[in-house]
Symmetry: C4
Subunit: 209 residues, 4 copies
């Protein structure tokens, strides 16, 4: 049974408070979603322009496959709703989390010209669903940022199709998108990818550039 | 209806605790204000020389347009009261927040000789009121620090008049001033500008200087 | 009298919450154990693939000297159970803690080719059991990571036998193992070694490499 | 009226929890004291070898001018009790706080050969008692570390006599000592000096060395 809107709001609130404390969703950055049903696609998503550090019931709403709110809603869905829908549909993800940390932002810029970065040899990779060894190489694509969200969503679909094994991607100057079968798995992926991006960023200081 | 002094104190206390935990208002640094009425200008402001990590009702007071306390008050208003009044009057701001983080202090020094720094291309900029795209360029003026507060307040007014689009400025070796229509918006601007200053500061390590 | 499973679970939960907040056990990384009895060896250990930030009773289980759960258990013991057993047996440790911080991961990589690093001259070393002066030199071995845990456990035993004075070791790209007579001492060793690894890592930026 | 032992324990506990969270008193590092009476000198001080993150009544004790516990006490006073007494006597301080952060440790090493470092031009300096302008220059002496505490205490007295304007000093590889008229002022000095040491440390990365 799918979690109710209230239970999802509670989970979003808890995740939001934790991520906000860590500096991963400052300002109104970041957005969270979860899939309620598949046919037709129905998702619960955070509203546009709200702080994720102190989410209230009015900050969370239900949307359909076209991104429009179901039922009457004062709140507007996140401006990046189309990206969440693209990931849910293309990947079959049950939950999508977008964070916007200092390190994910820096890495997206440092490796932006290469359109991605490789994470390899880290034990932490084993926490990504389906990865069995630290010898795994994870490719994290980096997409140029865009205010034309439908166009960006089409590029996201292409990246997902070209990289069936990826667990997340970066938007340049804009942070991280990752997902999972459910919110707990997506949150685990956030923690792992944020950890590896910070580690990689700090390691740069010790390497020839 | 304007928030009462008690409600404002509660908001200041919550903001102060959060900022103190993040290291943005250590010692007795930082100060907060909000506008109660416009004609005549009446503001609520934190007292001088108190820790913002654990604000008490006695640490918050009401002042008039000349910066003097209204009614009898044991506490003295913040030494930087004139800057808050200048911003409230010149900008029409409803709330002013001053933070003093490690990164805002460092950036104010690194770019002090240039009298400001540019923030450009970051998605996070979109959280600043009125900014619609990451292609926005935000100029953050840096003013030399001064213990002559009336003189500093006059320079602040000049900077605000010369930069009608700015959302904040740095005092050299002294941290960040930002504002908003209300406390929630001003707090959002603090989070966004502190994030971008930290990101910019950490990026310096990867760039030719 | 040995602590009961419930009391141990409470301690693990408290340690896990603190370490998770500090970023030392993100994702499903890290694992904790404590010795319940010696003959035969019985340990309480965290389960495999659970977040240490919010441990529940079902996430903690009792195992025997062969690493198999005692009694029926839904949870599987940590994949690294054999390392905990090796340390408990070879060292007589009463508790073993594994953390996986950004700095321990970075240091394990920077000094991996040298198979270890020296910590010397720091007052903080005196918090390690049996160390009486900051003039102490602590050798922290670094072992190559391996998914063959029995093989890794044998190498751990060798390292422990060759370094009777060591208080912990790093797995390359995988973080820190340390231990103590009880959980409080092991936790103290985690704090001290994580502090010294962060200090050493940040110092690298100021030294010729 | 001097605070009772119970009230002091509560304040130590609150300060310890905050400093521990910030990573300023990890392991068993750091110690806190406050003066109860002057003639004869009586102080309350944290016990040796306890975590400051979770202080209990048994972790705090009363001592006389010779550093010995007054009344029967299971706990031993901090190994560095003589330094606290030297500061209380030589400076007339009402409270002494010792922290041991990553940045104070690094700075004590980077500037150890120069026997001190200068903090100058920072607004944050104005939070130090008696400082009226950011144009102030604060000299922070650095003493070589020593396990001979009486000898170290004599060197501390010399440093205090030679620097009547100083607000704190560093022990090399060992962290910061500061003080104040009372615990609140000493805590403010900790926050300010830790802030300025972190700022100075991070600034090193941008300067010719």
């Amino acid at each position: 049974m799918k979690p109710s809107l209230l239970a999802t709001t509670r989970l979003f609130t808890e995740i939001g408070r934790d991520f906000h404390t860590r500096g991963w969703v400052l300002g109104t950055s970041g957005n969270f979603s979860t899939v309620v049903s598949r046919k037709p696609l129905t998702m619960v998503i955070t509203a546009s322009s709200v702080s994720k550090g102190d989410l209230r019931p009015a900050d969370v709403l239900t949307i359909g496959a076209n991104g429009a709110p179901l039922g009457k809603s004062v709140a507007r869905p996140s401006a990046e709703t189309a990206l969440h829908i693209a990931i849910a549909q293309s990947r079959g993800a049950g939950a999508v989390l977008h964070t916007h940390s200092v390190w994910s932002t820096i890495l997206s810029e440092l490796h932006g010209a290469a359109h991605g970065l490789r994470l390899s040899g880290w034990e932490m990779l084993k926490g990504l669903e389906g990865v069995r060894t630290h010898e795994h190489t994870e490719w994290v694509p980096i997409l140029d940022n865009d205010q034309d969200i439908p166009a960006l969503a089409r590029r996201v679909v292409t990246v997902l199709e070209q990289g069936p094994a990826i667990h997340g991607f970066l938007l340049r100057g804009h942070g991280l998108y990752t997902w999972g079968d459910d919110l707990a798995q997506a949150r685990r992926h956030v923690e792992i990818l944020e950890f590896l991006l910070e580690t990689t960023g700090r390691m740069h200081a010790f390497r020839p550039k």
